[in-house]
C-alpha cells in the first residue's frame, strides 16, 4: 500500500498499474476532479493545503481499516496539494482485489473516510473572491 501527498499532477493509469497483481480480477479507481462551481458560486480554480505528515498517517490508517474489512490485493491513495485547475484530478484512490465487489466497496469506503479524517483543506477561488470550504462564512476573505 502507498499513501502520499504530491504537488505534481496525478496519473491514475500509473496507480492502476501499481496496484495490479496476478491474483486480482478487479481494479477500481476513484478520481476526484475539480469542477467549475461550488453550489451557486463559480470556481476558477482550487488550492489544496495539507498537514503532510498527519495526512499520510491518516491515509495509512484508512488503508489498515480497508485491509481489516476486505481481502484486497493492494491500495494506493495520492492526494494533490497546491493550485489545481478545473478538470484536473485532486485525488486518486486505486484498489485491486480478486473480485470486483470488495474493490468497489473498499474504494468507496476509502474516499468517504478521507473526506472525514484526512487533514487536507480546499480553498475555492472564483471571480467573486475566495473561501476555505467548511469554514464558517464569517471568515470568508475577498481578494
Amino acid at each position: 500500500m502507498r499513501f502520499s501527498i504530491t504537488d505534481e499532477p496525478i496519473e491514475s493509469r500509473a496507480l492502476e498499474n501499481e496496484v495490479r497483481g496476478d491474483g486480482d480480477g478487479a481494479i477500481v479507481t476513484f478520481s476526484g476532479v475539480v469542477r467549475d462551481h461550488c453550489g451557486d458560486v463559480a470556481t476558477d480554480h482550487l488550492v489544496y493545503e495539507a498537514y503532510p505528515e498527519m495526512a499520510e498517517r491518516k491515509m495509512a490508517e484508512i488503508g489498515e481499516d480497508v485491509q481489516k474489512r476486505w481481502p484486497i490485493g493492494d491500495l494506493v491513495i495520492v492526494h494533490r496539494v497546491g493550485r489545481v485547475e478545473i478538470g484536473e484530478v485532486s485525488v486518486v484512490i486505486a484498489v485491486s482485489s480478486p473480485h470486483r465487489a470488495e474493490a468497489f466497496e473498499a474504494c468507496r469506503f476509502a474516499i468517504d473516510r478521507l473526506k472525514e479524517t484526512v487533514p487536507i483543506w480546499k480553498k475555492e477561488v472564483g471571480p467573486d473572491g475566495q473561501f476555505w470550504t467548511e469554514v464558517p462564512a464569517a471568515s470568508v476573505t475577498a481578494d
Partner: protein
C-alpha cells in the same frame, strides 16, 4: 515547556504564520494552549469549537496534557477529496 504550534489553511491565514514556538507552564493541556492562542489571535475564536486539536500528528482531546517539544495544531474542518 516549549511547544511547536503549526497552523494550516484558514488558521494559517488568520495567524499569518505556519509555525510558532510557544512557551507554556509544565502540566498545561491542549485546552490551555487553545485558550492562549485565542488571546493572542482573537480572530481564531471565530472558528472556535470547529477547530480539531492534533498533537504530534494525531487527533486528540483538549484534556490531553502536553510535553516539552510537542507539535500541536488546531485544524479547521477538513475538506479534502
Amino acid at each position: 515547556m516549549k511547544l511547536r504550534v503549526l497552523f494550516f489553511a484558514a488558521c494559517r491565514e488568520i495567524t499569518g504564520t505556519r509555525e510558532l514556538e510557544i512557551e507554556l507552564a509544565a502540566g498545561s493541556n491542549v485546552g490551555d494552549l487553545r485558550r492562549r492562542l485565542g488571546v493572542q489571535f482573537p480572530d481564531l475564536k471565530r472558528l472556535g469549537g470547529s477547530l480539531f486539536a492534533a498533537v504530534n500528528a494525531d487527533y486528540c482531546k483538549d484534556s490531553v496534557v502536553l510535553s516539552e517539544g510537542d507539535e500541536v495544531s488546531f485544524l479547521p474542518p477538513v475538506s479534502g477529496g
